[in-house]
Amino acid sequence: MPDTQVGVISCSGEECLGGTLARMATRKVMEELRAGRVVSLCLPLYIAGGEEERAFAKEFPVITVEGCGKRCAEKSTIKYSGGVKDTIVISELLGEDVALSKVVSARDLKEEHYKMADIVAEEICRKVDKIVAE
């Protein structure tokens, strides 16, 4: 299915670095790496009742990107749209000491943060490509 679109829901959590990385990686995949293929869904809107986001997640495969092991994005997707195709947990991918460290403002991002986000972004792409290939 060459036209398959994939939804990505990032946790964007505020309490630790994982939230910032999830957000950066998702934006990068949507804007650059898999533009047109990936649609980012807004988690707060999704939770608060956004019909467009919920309908999309019912119809198309969804990957969630979680900062930590609480897996908030996955939990809400299962609750409102049935299920997720795949999940990335940054605390597992990059380690808890990184993911759970203090949240960083976009203003204070350093080279190392961009590199971490790139690793997450690549992982998202891998999962997107796998879904598309199916």
Partner: protein, 136 residues
């Protein structure tokens, strides 16, 4: 009194979500770290009782990006006492013609709006702290 919770939506689709997020981080991390703190919006709604307890009955300020008011709605739904609701889109309205950036990154102008916005929210938080003391 526990710290005032400053909870942004952090919406990912538009610049306003990023502005809300950065404003909240600025308030809780730089301007008023002793009296305010932020909480993961998604975790208080989807999480267990412990997560919910972080806001239930607490004084909260919500910072939303757009008129969908996701943070305000969600915080209220889990029993947070929302004393003030802000929207980044309103702050941007006061700077007509300025391009604030995108959901990925803010421009100089975007940061300037965030800085002013954060001052305003921090002042409100201080006011709520005083109010809390007087009522105690």
């Amino acid at each position: 009194m526990s710290k005032v919770k400053v909870i942004p939506c952090s919406g990912i689709g538009k610049v306003f979500g990023l502005m809300a997020r950065e404003t909240a981080l600025q308030v809780t991390d730089k301007l008023s770290p002793d009296t305010t703190e932020t909480v993961c919006l998604a975790s208080i709604v989807t999480g267990d009782d412990a997560a919910r307890a972080k806001v239930e009955g607490c004084t909260c300020i919500t910072i939303d990006g757009c008129p969908a008011l996701c943070s305000a709605k969600s915080v209220e739904s889990v029993g947070g006492i929302v004393k003030a609701k802000y929207r980044a889109v309103d702050e941007t309205r006061n700077h007509r013609g300025k391009n604030a950036g995108t959901g990925t990154a803010l421009t100089e102008d975007g940061w300037q709006i965030v800085d002013e916005f954060a001052e305003k929210v921090a002042a409100k938080a201080e006011e709520l702290v005083e109010e809390g003391k007087n009522n105690a």
